[in-house]
């Protein structure tokens, strides 16, 4: 097997096993401590007042009434807010957005914090907030994507996607025998993790302790340190459990900063927990897009061009732009590729990364547009995709580090029964007279790596402690990373004490981009390898060890013993090696990142194919997804149980994107009318049925030391398009917006 694994570490005794989650017991008994469950003594409650208008300024706040309410201790407004040491308009870290922390009386979007009330009880804080009774000067809000002119920009780092051209798009258009030119829209979506944002902030001198959900612990420490003018090492973030993150919990936000400020001002711990309604504004969302796709193909169905233009809504005061058009790069072997982005500044909260940012919105549209082309060419949709299968990365010609997409298509189609699909729409009905449609889409997601470090210490009793500030937002880091660590140390899982979820440990990197297991896992793997290397050196140099002199052969570490590679009759327990060496612990460390030259050599993506069946009531147009089959190739799977769950979750997000999620603005007043879980729909159990996941075997010797590609986000890609295509196939009606609404299918 071609592998860049250290040869002395046997891999797979823990990894690859469907271990149940190690935090399961805490979660089912209610003892897992989430941020808002912390209630230190002498604590105050902070509640922010959200702006009820989307544009204008605050002209009046009845601070006297609020301050006079029993239990209210402080009312913060732009008039009396103590200074911050870092400007909220600065961007001290990669994951920083400009935010509102009562700098002035302007209102830039509905839901923006315009005041903060601090009180002895939550009730008093809420009542104080109500009593403030804000008065506004209103300006006409701009919340519709047509309310402002799109503008172009130069790519400039996080949140500003590149415009990319490969080949000659104009020649591609000119040479096309068949072409389509279609425009789709996707709705603004809000992360809505089940746990809302919450923080308990406590100052001791110039040291700040934050109990808060964070997907990026080290970067959060650095960010908060900046705004409060203290060294990053003076910030402690404790984030053992996140009630979901999906991208919204990586970035310091205005509400957090205000709560921390209140704690510093009062000298007491302060808790702030956002209400569900407050999640629709200051904590990010997936920006609305309008995407135009022009595809050209020759007579045989080979793509001559994919020309993808994205317009995305962003805020008036920051510039995160949903990188939707980038989804058309790197997946199909078109003669020419062009992805361009423009933005529209609206009176909305700044969008940000939300599960599969760019890929989700972009692939939804790309996969539907391809289906439109397939229809025009008279080709089966899968056939069209196979005709344009990219053997090397389109545009760059780089080889893929691995790519089992063909197997995904084959296995997914087989499991779904795709071959019996009639090509024309409206051909299938079930026994109850419902319209039935089948559609498919290609799933893909890049395999980024971040930076992470880890420590591992092997103790004399053959137990170990491993440390990294990794984050478990539900995906299973407590379990999968511990499995990797145990393997790297050649120990059973229950011998390893895995420390993570807080600062003060080696930097575990960012839980995002589907790269956390690879990155933090890589660091743990290296740290464990470092320990085993040292242990091997001790044994090989020890005349009393059966391993004496075997250093050149190398060792295999397994179940607390070192074996001579190639001669397993020679072995010794760790405890014996360590006992003779004086019983000292062995400490190792490791780090993981991807070298730029490695990144240059290969294109690295996870791939998949998703097949969907929908059933639609012909009279009432109600739609249900009745079957979804997803086949995914994502390199090494550390824990199949966790990975499947991630893929299921992603596919359900695909259902949600296609049929449910949409924040609806009242464009006259600028606020979101469905800012709650009653109106902002995420699927319920009954919306989800017949889900099937296949993980296609794939070995990747290049992507990283562990061969891991990541599974957190890919499930949503492919799924949205598959559902849109299935709806067309059921009805013959092509709906070019997501979510697809019942009235979109009305034919009479």
């Amino acid at each position: 097997m071609p592998d860049t694994l250290d040869p002395h570490v046997r891999f797979g005794s823990n990894s690859g096993q469907p271990v149940t989650r190690r935090d399961g017991l805490a979660k089912v008994t209610g003892t897992a401590t989430f941020a808002a469950d912390n209630t230190p003594d002498n604590m105050l409650y902070a509640v922010f007042v959200p702006a009820a208008i989307a544009r204008g300024r605050v002209t009046g706040l009845d601070t006297e009434a609020a301050a006079a309410h029993p239990g209210v201790t402080h009312v913060l407004t732009p008039q009396n807010r103590p200074p911050l040491q870092g400007d909220p308009s600065d961007k001290p870290t990669m994951f920083s957005f400009r935010f509102e922390a009562l700098q002035d009386d302007s209102v830039r979007y509905a839901g923006q914090p315009i005041a903060l009330v601090v009180a002895e009880t939550l009730e008093a804080a809420n009542e104080g907030a109500r009593l403030l009774n804000p008065k506004y000067e209103r300006l006409t809000p701009r919340t519709d994507i047509d309310d402002a002119e799109p503008y172009a920009f130069e790519a400039a780092g996080f949140g500003l996607p590149a415009n990319t051209v490969h080949g000659n798009p104009e020649a591609g258009h000119a040479s096309a025998a068949q072409a389509i030119d279609v425009t789709y829209e996707t709705a603004p979506q809000y992360h809505n993790a089940m746990e809302t944002h919450a923080v308990v902030a406590k100052w001791e001198g110039d040291h700040l302790t934050l109990d808060m959900p964070s997907q990026a612990i080290s970067m959060s420490c650095a960010g908060f340190a900046y705004y409060f003018g203290i060294p990053a090492e003076n910030v402690t973030v404790r984030s053992p459990y996140l009630g979901g993150g999906f991208g919204s919990k990586a970035i310091p936000t205005g509400p957090y900063v205000l709560a921390i400020l209140a704690a510093r001002m009062t000298g007491r711990p302060v808790k702030m927990m956002l209400t569900r309604q407050q999640m629709f504004g200051p904590v990010g969302h997936r920006g609305q897009t309008r995407q135009r796709l022009r595809l050209g193909a020759d007579d045989t169905g080979r793509l001559t061009v994919i020309d993808h233009e994205g317009i995305a809504a962003t805020s008036t005061f920051d510039d995160f732009v949903e990188p939707a058009a980038n989804a058309s790069q790197g997946i199909y072997a078109a003669g020419a590729l062009r992805s361009t982005h423009r933005a529209v500044k609206l009176d909305i909260g700044t969008p940000g990364p939300m599960r599969a940012p760019g890929e989700a919105s972009g692939s939804a549209v790309l996969e539907c547009a391809l289906d439109e082309l397939a229809e025009k060419l008279g080709l089966d949709p899968l056939e069209l995709r196979l005709k344009n299968y990219a053997e090397t990365e389109p545009g760059t010609g780089k080889p893929y580090s691995s790519k089992a997409l063909r197997e995904c298509y084959a296995q997914g189609a087989e499991r779904f029964g795709w071959n019996s699909r009639p090509r024309a729409p409206g051909q299938m009905r079930d026994e109850d007279g419902l319209l039935v449609g089948w559609g498919m889409g290609t799933a893909f997601f890049p395999c980024p790596m971040f930076m992470a470090e880890a420590n591992a210490t092997l103790r004399a009793d053959s137990t170990a402690v491993v440390e990294t500030s990794a984050v478990d937002m539900g995906q299973g880091a407590w379990t999968a990373l511990a499995q990797i660590a145990a393997d790297s140390l050649g120990l059973p899982l229950d011998k390893v004490d895995f420390q993570a979820g807080r600062s003060g440990l080696p930097d575990g990197g960012v839980a995002g981009g589907s790269g956390h297991t690879a990155t933090a896992g890589g660091a743990l793997h290296a740290a464990g390898g470092d320990v085993i290397r040292q242990l091997g050196e001790i044994a090989a140099a020890d005349p009393d060890s059966p391993l004496y002199g075997a250093g050149n052969a190398g060792f295999v570490a397994r179940d607390g013993r070192l074996y001579v590679a190639g001669d397993e009759s020679r072995s010794e327990a760790y405890t014996d090696i360590l006992a003779r060496s004086g019983g000292a612990e062995i400490a190792g460390n490791g780090s993981a990142s991807r070298a730029p030259e490695t990144a240059e050599q290969h294109a690295m993506n996870a791939h998949g194919a998703v097949f969907a069946e929908v059933k639609i009531d012909p009279d009432l147009c109600q739609m249900r997804v009745t079957r979804l089959v997803g086949a995914f190739a994502a390199g090494r799977i550390i824990n199949p149980r966790l990975a499947e769950s991630q893929l299921f979750g992603g596919m359900i997000w695909g259902i949600s994107f296609a049929l449910h999620e949409e924040a609806r603005h009242d464009h006259k007043r600028g606020h979101i009318v469905n800012a709650d879980l009653a109106g902002y729909h995420v699927p319920v159990n009954a919306d989800v049925s017949g889900l099937d996941v296949i993980t296609v075997h794939e070995e990747d010797p290049y992507v990283n030391a562990l061969g891991i590609k990541g599974v957190g986000e890919i499930g949503i890609t492919g799924t949205v398009g598959a559902i849109g295509n299935a709806i067309w196939h059921a009805t013959g009606k092509r709906v070019r917006r997501f979510p697809i609404r019942i009235e979109d299918l009305l034919t009479s």
Binding site: A26, K27, G243, F246
Partner: protein
């Protein structure tokens, strides 16, 4: 108010409790039991689900919209009390671990309690029992598998408990309809609280002050279902889970709609009287009750009156109810079942209807002899389609007659466009519902509910 109840098997005595204090806030902020989570604070997500037992048995309820006085004399179990006194795991907890039912874990305590209640009650309709719990990570299948796996395990002893029958504060929680009538006549400005699935939101979401409350949950005589000479009389305090059972065989289509009415937690708390009395234009009961020609029984002091239920709804937010007068019961006349109820919503469960139509069409010798058609979501009040009824009554029961009523729909309704559906969709869907009724009646197999998984 003074409140006595059992919490995880232990007696709790509280004095001077703010009547709009929710159980969730009290658990988390005062009692220090923080396993129960807040996900939405308005009964949409189920993260705060607790088990509440009274002499009618154990039910799952949303703690976030449950006012403390509603617990008087009952037994509450939170996730901390689902495991045994010595920390023994409940079978559903073990199954959730084994089947990977928790991912981020924030919704998990609520799921565990919903599952434990269903397990206790021998309810194996897992999909229905869990319809009110939202999960954003795992996607339900592992959770349903866990529920299935635990179903055959014995119920642990600690789950069976009988609360003490304690007397509540008679000024705010009367024990009978007579006592209520007297109190409410004297204090007509008071807010009546039945299940609090609506009033709860006035507090948690609208931050309304409710200075005087009268809780109805102790009025046993409002919670009776009787078969009378006139038909099925359902007390105003009967919760929707019991209404569903009561109409299951008489009007299966009505029961099918109720199954999608809120979640188990909401049905267990919401009362039929509350759903009628709040006069919502999108309440799901009134269309069915209007189509069934139900009679509403109102009471003020000792004076009672009755009216066809459709006449109760005068205009948006305005009902034919005097100060101090309350809904005492509703009677559905005995009849052969000709009812079909169609609830249209985007999401299958837990969704407010875009359109809810109820049809009862009697046919004699091939002609429509009587038609009663009523809608929610099409006007400012639950409203009859009288022009359509006239247009088809006396005519042959055929597709031509249905098509002939095309223009009549616009005489009856001028619906609004909103985020749930466009006006055009609403009107066309309503028309198509009548076609659907005809098709089903003539034997074509089609049922919206059968799309369900």
């Amino acid at each position: 108010m003074d409140i006595d109840f059992l919490l995880n098997g232990e007696s709790v005595t509280l004095r001077g409790v703010e009547p709009t204090r929710t159980l969730l806030d009290w658990l988390r902020e005062e009692r220090g039991l923080r396993g129960t989570k807040e996900g939405c604070n308005e009964g949409d997500c189920g993260a705060c689900t607790v088990m509440v037992t009274d002499d009618r048995g154990a039910r799952a309820l949303n703690a976030c919209i449950l006012f403390m006085p509603q617990l008087q004399g009952k037994a509450v179990r939170t996730v901390e009390g689902i495991a045994g006194p010595k920390g023994e795991l409940h079978p559903v907890q073990q199954a959730m671990i084994d089947h990977h039912g928790s991912q981020c874990g924030f919704c998990t305590p609520g799921f565990v309690v919903s599952m434990a209640v269903a397990h206790l009650n021998g309810d194996t309709g897992h999909d229905d029992a869990l319809a009110g719990n939202l999960c954003r990570c795992t996607g339900y299948a592992p959770i349903v598998r866990a529920a299935e796996a635990a179903a055959d395990q014995p119920v642990p002893d600690w789950m069976r408990e009988l609360p003490e029958g304690l007397i509540a504060d008679p000024q705010h929680a009367p024990e009978s309809a007579d006592a209520l009538a007297e109190l409410y006549e004297a204090r007509p400005e008071a807010t009546l609280v039945a299940g609090a699935t609506d009033v709860g939101l006035w507090v948690t979401k609208l931050m309304k002050e409710l200075p005087d409350l009268i809780f109805l949950n102790r009025c046993k005589d409002l919670q009776e279902i009787e078969e009378t000479a006139l038909g099925l009389r359902i007390g105003a305090g009967v919760t929707m889970d019991r209404v569903m059972e009561a109409v299951k065989t008489r009007f299966p289509s009505y029961a099918g709609m109720i199954r999608r009415y809120g979640s188990a937690q909401v049905r267990n708390a919401a009362t039929i009287g509350g759903n009628i009395a709040n006069g919502s234009p999108i309440g799901d009961n009134p269309p069915a009750l209007i189509a069934l020609d139900a009679t509403l029984h109102l009471r003020k002091g000792d004076a009672r009156r009755e009216m066809p239920i459709g006449e109760f709804f005068i205009d948006y937010g305005k009902q034919d109810r005097q100060p101090g007068e309350f809904v005492e019961a509703v009677t559905i006349p005995a009849q052969a079942d000709r009812l079909k109820v169609y609830k249209l919503s985007k999401r299958f469960d837990q969704d407010i209807s875009a359109v809810c139509g109820a049809f009862r069409i009697r046919v004699e010798e091939g002609r429509v002899s009587e038609a009663r058609i009523a809608f929610g979501g099409m006007a400012a009040v639950p409203k009859r389609a009288t022009a359509v009824e006239r247009a088809i009554t006396g005519k042959p029961w055929t597709d031509e007659t249905v098509m002939g009523a095309w223009d009549a729909w616009e005489k009856d309704f001028a619906p609004l466009s909103d985020m749930r559906a466009s006006a055009e969709y609403r009107l066309d869907a309503a028309r198509n519902m009548l076609s659907r009724y005809l098709l089903e009646d003539l034997g074509a197999p089609s049922n919206v509910l059968e799309v369900m998984p």
